[in-house]
């Protein structure tokens, strides 16, 4: 019978947070919430009270702020609710307590933990149930109970090693399809038939592990079937004319532009887990952005947590040291009324809070600064939040080995394997509905950042010593994807018996398939194994020798003497039938809209719009200072509350050069609703102008694409996807910037409703001298304000359109020849002529200028060129290619010459702490003076009013 220990802190802010969150879920009567940690100790041998007492004093209890009790549960104060992780879900506190007990030589303990909430106040059963369901527990990974919860230990089943044979011979198409959906394979009939034929040919039925391996390897997640498919697009323009085009692989189209551009500083693109570009002659930079949407919808903390872990492993997978993180998040409105919430979906507020906590937990614990991002709120993301996680890495030029050799050992390092994370790849390759939670609970995991941190330390040292010939991460699909991929050319022979498990009882196919986070697979020459083992021992990382690269061209897996898999690598990697898909796209009709009146309320409304308003409450939960290299931070200005355009990062250990990296992003899903082609070009432009605004060189920019779309087997979804890819390829050519890596997350649909087509463009660039990097706050009173670029009358997809419900469908025209202006701005910044710069995006130039005033706490007086727009559109349009620059008056002439036709002087920084916006005509004549006049303090209040919501 396990012994129960309860530890209660005198003042736990978590209790206060629950009290203040209760009204938001409709519960009024909660007056107080006391939070206690419960530890169930199960000892193999005798466990005396003295031992437990010692354990409490040594590790469990902080004597200054907490007290503890051993034995029965404390008498309930009010209503008690206990919450515990489901058996098998990562429980790091339990693991550390077991280790501590070992170190104290107390006993061989098994520990399971729970949290106890004593809810005090005027609460009925319903209120307690609502608090439990909406604030305390998530059924996907936790169990909860009113009163005392029995301890939850994983049942330790003795491994009765079973390999099941799955007969396919003679099954009809519909039977094959049924089998695919029953086993969560996410394979279509054509693909199931190909598998059936292969096994008919070799004269036996596939094993469960073979079928699962094929499903993982052939999943949309792993092989990007849609991006490799042949697609026929029927495009109907607004005037009704149709054109039909054939697209021979979307991925191929993106790669083709990169090959065409092939700049000298490009090290590798689309070949590994991350793209690589030169930093200087000694170091390279690796960059990757991933998505973790489906898991974050079900378990926001764990989903986002492991999203960070996954993209960091992508960086490790190119032998780079991770040095920074980014994230871009799309949620439903956090003030969504409960009655509009869909069944089976968590409330957007809860998803947002959980996702942010999950990202903060993982990034902070890895010691990576989270430096750049964006948050978009839109009703289109209620059923499917989007979580983009990015990571940047540094590696010694040319140090990443890519070729496993015959005889190399297949070695896994990092975490142990459990049942968590099975079917992650196939799960993310299907749409969701209200029952998804029940069927795929096992696909959702909680991360273990400290184990991954150990892997980072080991890989850096192992790479430095040349101890491996190839490396990849264990992502979705676990060993099946990682080993399958790595052994494609040589073939591998694996024995699963030695794999370290979190608990016994896993079947071979589960060991082989489980994603179980925080693992890397390496090809290690036998004579390097001992050295690698020593490094692993030094850094508390476990190593498993799984087998060898065999030269047979086959994937052979055993569990001891039991055969598990025996298939040809050729079929695994080349047997997937290519998809032939049809796509349709209809250009939206043009709509005339009436512009609202321009006044102070307009500006305050734009600043308070959730997409524009301060993200400080989120940003401060991320450590953006660790590694001592953050030059331009996410928040800038005297009070550190102005939004930055991009992050400038000086990698630790590169003090030999003044160069630094720049990371930025662009996305405009509201434009995508009307015109996904324009969205791609406008998102690309946003990423680039953000990057240029802080001093980045437009001739050293590498791009990543991340497509989040609905079900691509529906022709309209696929049509808009094709249009967006066309926008990307045209954009890469126009901007002369190669895509170096990308990712698509399709099937983001909930019960038939797709997310808005959402393309994130991430940009990586360089500043030659970090002392020339600037932000949007550095201006002084008396500085001139300049505008680069011209406005657009089209308000479709703008924040102003959303705020006023205008219904505009025309979107701004992308730029034809963007580079001259960006080069001009860059020369001006590099020459030290610009004191501050800010791009015009969400909320248009009105919001941009107000944000600069907020960041600097100075007044501004500006007359914006009308450029053919009415006053409202002139101030709020989100046309591409526009930046506001501040510069000393004494540099007026030289800056004018540097910017040439691209720059116009529009006003100045004032000492009067007012934001004054007017409109000027083509010859600089005032059309409307001081249309908007807002005190900087009021602007700050509007900008930060929703910070804590």
């Amino acid at each position: 019978m396990p012994l129960r220990v309860t530890v209660t802190s005198h003042s736990d802010p978590q209790g206060e947070a629950i009290v203040s969150a209760a009204p938001l879920v409709g519960v009024r009567g909660l007056a107080q919430c006391r939070v206690s940690r419960v530890y169930h100790l199960d000892a193999a041998g005798p466990l005396g009270n003295d031992d437990v007492d010692r354990l409490c004093r040594e590790v469990l209890v902080d004597p200054v702020v907490a007290e503890y009790s051993i034995g029965a549960a404390l008498p309930a104060m009010g209503r008690a609710v206990e919450v515990a992780a489901l058996p098998g879900v990562t429980d790091l506190d339990a693991r550390e307590l077991e280790r501590a007990a070992q170190q104290l030589q107390i006993a061989d303990l098994r520990v399971s933990t729970a949290v106890r909430y004593d809810l005090i106040g005027d609460l009925d059963d319903r209120a307690v149930a609502v608090i439990t369901r909406r604030l305390l527990a998530n059924d996907t990974i936790e169990q909860s109970h009113q009163g005392t919860l029995a301890p939850a230990f994983v049942a330790q089943a003795d491994a009765d090693c079973r390999v099941e044979s799955v007969p396919l011979r003679g099954l009809s198409d519909s039977e094959l399809q049924t089998l695919s959906s029953q086993r969560l394979l996410s394979l279509d009939t054509e693909e199931m038939r190909a598998i059936q034929r292969y096994f008919d040919d070799i004269g036996r039925s596939p094993t469960d592990a073979e079928l699962e391996t094929l499903a993982q390897t052939w999943s949309e997640h792993c092989v990007h079937k849609t991006f490799r498919a042949a697609i026929e697009l029927t495009h109907t323009s607004a005037d009704g004319r149709t054109t039909v085009t054939r697209h021979d692989g979307l991925l191929a189209a993106l790669r083709e532009v990169t090959e065409e551009l092939d700049p000298w500083w490009l090290r590798s693109a689309f070949v590994d887990d991350a793209g690589i570009v030169a930093f200087d002659d000694r170091f390279d930079l690796a960059f990757k952005v991933e998505t973790h949407n489906h898991p974050s919808a079900l378990e926001p903390f764990g989903g986002a947590n492991t999203g960070v872990g996954g993209v960091v492993r992508d960086i490790l997978g190119v032998s780079a040291r991770p040095i920074a993180c980014t994230n871009v998040l799309c949620f439903g409105p956090v003030d969504l009324p409960a009655e509009r919430l869909l069944a089976g979906v968590l409330h957007p507020r809860r998803i947002r809070d959980g996702v942010v906590a999950g990202i903060a937990d993982y990034g902070n614990k890895l010691g990576l600064p989270t430096v750049n991002g964006a948050v978009v709120y839109d009703e289109g993301y209620i059923g499917n939040p989007l979580v983009y996680c990015g990571a940047l890495g540094l590696l010694v030029n040319g140090s990443h080995p890519r070729a496993a050799q015959l005889g190399d050992r297949v070695v896994s390092i990092g975490g142990r394997v459990g049942r968590d994370g099975i079917h992650g790849a196939t799960f993310s390759s299907a749409t969701m509905d209200a029952s998804t939670v029940d069927s795929v609970g096992a696909a959702v995991q909680i991360g273990d950042p400290i184990t991954e941190k150990g892997c980072i330390e080991v890989v850096e040292r192992a790479c430095g010593l040349g101890l491996y010939n190839a490396i990849t991460d264990c992502g979705a699909g676990g060993f099946s994807s990682a080993v399958g991929e790595m052994g494609e050319d040589l073939g591998v022979e694996i024995d699963l018996e030695g794999v370290r498990l979190k608990y016994s009882g896993l079947q071979p196919w589960e060991i082989w398939l489980s994603e179980a986070q925080e693992r890397m697979v390496m090809a290690v020459p036998p004579d390097s194994l001992l050295a690698l083992q020593q490094i692993c021992d030094d850094w508390d990382v476990e190593l498993t020798d799984l087998g060898s690269f065999s030269g047979s061209g086959k994937l052979v897996v055993r569990h001891g003497d039991t055969p598990v898999i025996d298939m040809s690598m050729d079929f695994l990697h080349n047997g997937l039938p290519r998809r032939e898909l049809t796509a349709t796209f209809i250009d939206p009709p043009s709509t005339a809209v009436e512009s609202p009146r321009v006044d102070a309320e307009m500006l305050l409304g734009l600043l308070a719009h959730p997409d524009v308003a301060s993200k400080e409450d989120i940003v401060r939960r991320y450590d953006h200072e660790v590694r001592a290299g953050t030059v331009v931070r996410p928040l800038v200005g005297r009070n550190a509350d102005g939004p930055a355009d991009a992050a400038v990062i000086k990698p630790l250990g590169t003090q030999h050069t003044p160069a630094a990296a720049v990371v930025s992003n662009g996305l405009c899903p509201r434009v995508g609703r009307h015109d996904p082609y324009a969205m791609a070009l406008l998102a690309l432009d946003e990423a680039v102008r953000n990057l240029v605004a802080v001093g980045g060189d437009p001739d050293r920019v590498a791009l990543l694409d991340n497509f989040c779309w609905g079900d691509p087997t529906r022709s309209d979804r696929l049509g808009s996807l094709v249009r967006a890819v066309q926008g990307c390829t045209d954009g890469a050519r126009r901007y002369a910037m190669p895509f170096i890596s990308g990712k698509d997350s399709l099937f983001n649909e909930f019960e038939g409703r797709p997310v808005p087509p959402t393309l994130l463009i991430s940009a990586l660039g360089l500043v030659a001298d970090l002392n020339r990097a600037i932000d949007s706050a550095g201006m002084s009173v008396g500085d001139d304000l300049w505008l680069v670029g011209r406005g657009s009358a089209a308000l479709g997809g703008s924040v102003a359109d959303a705020l006023y419900g205008l219904g505009a469908t025309d979107v701004p025209a992308p730029l034809d020849d963007p580079l001259p202006r960006y080069r001009a701005v860059h020369s001006a910044i590099a020459a030290g002529l610009v004191s501050a710069a800010h791009d015009c995006s969400d909320g248009g130039i009105a919001a941009a200028i107000a944000e600069m005033a907020i960041a600097a706490r100075h007044g501004v007086a500006v007359e914006v060129p009308a450029d053919g727009c009415d006053e409202f559109a002139a101030l709020t349009n989100e046309g591409p290619g526009r930046l506001v620059l501040a510069a000393q008056r004494s540099d007026r002439d030289v800056l004018g010459q540097t910017l040439g036709v691209n720059g116009r002087r529009i006003g100045e920084v004032t000492a009067n702490s007012r934001i004054s916006l007017g409109v000027q005509g083509a010859n600089g004549e005032t059309i409307a003076a001081a249309l908007v006049c807002v005190d900087v303090g009021d602007a700050v209040r509007a900008f930060t009013s929703s910070v804590a919501t």
Binding site: E58, V64, E96, G367, I450
Partner: protein, 270 residues
Amino acid sequence: MSAAPILIVHASGTNRDGDAAQAIELAGGSPRIVHVNQLRRGEVTFADHAGVLIPGGFSYGDSLGAGQRLALELRLWFAQELSEVVTAGKPVLGICNGFQVLVKAGLLGAVSEHRLAPENRQVTLTDNARGRFECRWVTLRVEPAVRSTWLGPIRDTIIRCPVAHGEGRFVSADDSVSAELEAQGLVAFRYQDSGATPVFQPDSVRAAAGAYPANPNGSAADIAGICDHSGAVVGLMPHPEDHVLDWQRPNGDPGATGLPLFKAFVAAAR
């Protein structure tokens, strides 16, 4: 004279060891990052070094409370070595997680001279008053009356640097402990309000007086760091190692870096 060898202790989850090593190097010391496992095996010893720095991070993921697990390991495995380091007057510095570790090990904040017993703990670092991890720049003053000898050269100095923690609220067991800390000169750093002028100016710095965000975590008496009776052991929550170069500062005039702290540390380690 060769650079003083400084031991930077790394446990699994430590992550500002590189930042600390850079600061030590800029201050003229010779940093060496060593994993606890290597120390435990005796491959490297505390005695080989002229000073010990326990850097920031999340040792063992901060499971069971920030610093608790590494504190236990220090007590179990290195009590003797650490006590010799302190007796020899070598400087010991804990930053952020390192501070939490020193407090929870009983090396800092114990009122009695008997070291390294959990019962002796009279102060702690617990959840921030706002209940969450927070990263922001703060202003510190080295306490003019601090007892620590090696902090002597920088008494009353202003340092600007970031905090990045979730469990940094300094709490004493009771008022008598607080009074004792003040009376004995054990308070080493306090959070300051650097004023609302457009550009940071040292002259406008005044006490944070408990007000957020100048005091970012609700620490009692604005205490950001303390020292022990011997004056050799010092700990603080903020990260002076992240402001040792001018470009690391987000805004404001040159100066107020954390470098003088590391120079004082290295000087004492000679």
